[in-house]
């Protein structure tokens, strides 16, 4: 479904942010992308979305990411940005949610149904007609997730979806991610959430893949995590 082949990227010359990354994610997999602040998680996602261009090759569904294929590729990817202020650009939550489906030619009726179903699932029905700049940061994050779910993409990318959320909403998001059948790539340093939602983990450190394997193994490896500026998930910290 997603494949990185020897991908490198740097914002400024001589300071590589990603170096020679190669990995594959198969359809239906749920993969956690972990790493300390500045490890390059957001950068990796932006490369995948074609928002940045680097060296090497990135394939989505067999299509190489390039200018010509971008519309096709973006149609399959739904991205929850790290900063929800940047994601929501319409006046109300509802208008933001209908934006993508309408652009992709989904009928108004079906769009309305999707919107209501997603709001229901996330427990956000009360937020539907609220103004985007009059809702709290956490509510906005939830709304941003809703806009992406309403797109019904084949792959869901989330950049730190649970930062800014209270425990209650965090739990809703975790349950929602678990209930999805799409391919998922979730960047976060909330390792408890990753443990709950992902089967596989890719650990990024200083622009390279430091580990790639089953979540249960990697997230239990205290030495590995601490070597890369992270800690064991809370729920595993007590019992080793």
């Amino acid at each position: 479904m997603i494949e990185f082949r020897n991908v490198s990227f740097s914002y400024e010359k001589d300071t590589p942010v990603l170096q020679d990354l190669s990995f594959r994610i198969d359809a239906g997999e749920s993969v956690g992308l972990i790493g300390a602040n500045g490890a390059g998680k957001s950068t990796l996602m932006k490369l995948l979305l074609g928002l940045l261009q680097g060296q090497g090759e990135i394939l989505v569904d067999g299509l190489a990411v390039s200018k010509a294929t971008l519309p096709e590729i973006r149609r399959r990817l739904g991205f929850v940005l790290q900063n929800s202020d940047h994601q929501m650009f319409m006046p109300t939550v509802y208008e933001d949610m209908i934006f993508a489906p309408l652009n992709y030619g989904v009928s108004r009726e079906e769009t309305e149904q999707r919107v209501d179903a997603v709001l229901e699932q996330l427990g956000l029905t009360a937020l539907k007609h609220r103004h985007n700049h009059k809702i709290s940061g956490g509510e906005k994050r939830m709304a941003a997730i809703a806009t992406v779910l309403a797109m019904e993409p084949e792959v869901i990318l989330m950049d730190e979806p649970t930062s800014a959320l209270d425990p209650y909403n965090r739990r809703i998001v975790i349950n929602t991610i678990c209930s999805l059948s799409q391919t998922r790539l979730i960047a976060s340093h909330d390792l408890d959430m990753i443990l709950d939602t992902c089967d596989r983990v890719i650990l990024l450190s200083q622009g390279r893949i430091a580990a790639d394997g089953p979540a249960r193994e990697i997230l239990r490896d205290r030495a590995l995590l601490e070597a890369h500026r992270m800690e064991l998930p809370f729920c595993l910290a007590g019992r080793e």
């Binding site: 973006r74 006046p91 934006f99 309408l102 797109m151």
Partner: protein, 267 residues
């Protein structure tokens, strides 16, 4: 709230006014747009001495305020900066046109005074009518209406994005002034020495945000034109509103109702 936050909430207030429910809000945006245009044309077409005819045209905004539930106070509060400018346009007329036109009792009133007053009234009426249109119609529906009237997509998108982008800029200003003031307590405004970096940062941040927003639009399939909010079909009531309004405007334009009424009452 700092000044830019006020500006921001003012914008949101317009959105909220527009999202209210009333017979006027329910009218089709094209009907409202055309009626407003017709109204402005009618008002502007009055001759410079036809003050009494113009005065009757004030009925339209008065009725609209009543029917839409939009408080007239809000309107004049929001227009308080532009209104004086518009009113100032005719200020010199009394100096140029001194020939007496009519007598109030024994006091002569010159043509200049009348034409000044009629220019002022025209300005106020046109502004109020435009305000009422925007306050009773969500910006998206308005844009959708413009598209239906075959205004080029580029212009309409530009209008919509400007409207949105003003919000983004003011939000950045508000975040930055807050951050500044938290670390410069007791200072009024922003010290002149910080203006350069402040403006530079503002530009960078707004550009960053605009770029991210644009990326976010692209990621959700934006390809050059907006799908505006669903607009209800044009109902017979909308047509009736359109035709009646234009007929009444024409009547008020060509028949001096004020004079007619005056004569009836005096007799």
């Amino acid at each position: 709230m700092n000044k830019s936050e006020q500006a921001l909430s003012a914008l949101a207030e317009m959105d909220e006014l527009a999202a209210r429910q009333s017979p006027i809000h329910r009218l089709h945006p094209i009907a409202k747009l055309l009626v407003t245009i017709a109204y402005i044309f009618t008002v502007v077409s009055f001759g410079k001495y036809q003050l009494s005819g113009l005065a009757v045209m004030a009925l339209y905004p008065v009725l609209l305020f009543q029917l839409s539930g939009i408080p007239a106070r809000t309107c004049f509060h929001k227009l308080r900066i532009v209104l004086p400018l518009v009113m100032a346009v005719g200020l010199f007329n009394p100096f140029f046109d001194r020939s007496p036109l009519l007598y109030l009792g024994t006091v002569p009133v010159s043509g200049g005074v009348i034409s000044m007053l009629s220019l002022m009234v025209k300005g106020v009426l046109c502004l109020t009518a435009s305000f009422l249109l925007i306050a009773a119609t969500p910006i998206d529906s308005l844009c959708a209406a413009l598209r239906r009237l075959h205004v080029p997509s580029l212009l309409v998108t530009l209008l919509l994005l400007t409207y949105r982008y003003v919000g983004v800029m003011t939000e950045e200003v508000s975040i930055m002034t807050d951050a500044y003031r938290l670390r410069a307590p007791g200072q009024k405004g922003i010290h002149i020495s910080a203006w350069g970096s402040f403006l530079g940062q503002l530009l960078l941040r707004s550009m960053d945000r605009a770029q991210e927003l644009y990326a976010s639009m692209l990621l959700r399939g934006y390809h050059g034109h907006f799908h505006y909010a669903a607009v209800n079909p044009f109902r017979p009531a909308d047509g009736a509103y359109l035709v009646c309004c234009i007929a009444v405007f024409a009547l008020l334009r060509f028949v001096n109702v004020a004079e007619l009424l005056g004569r009836l009452l005096v007799r």
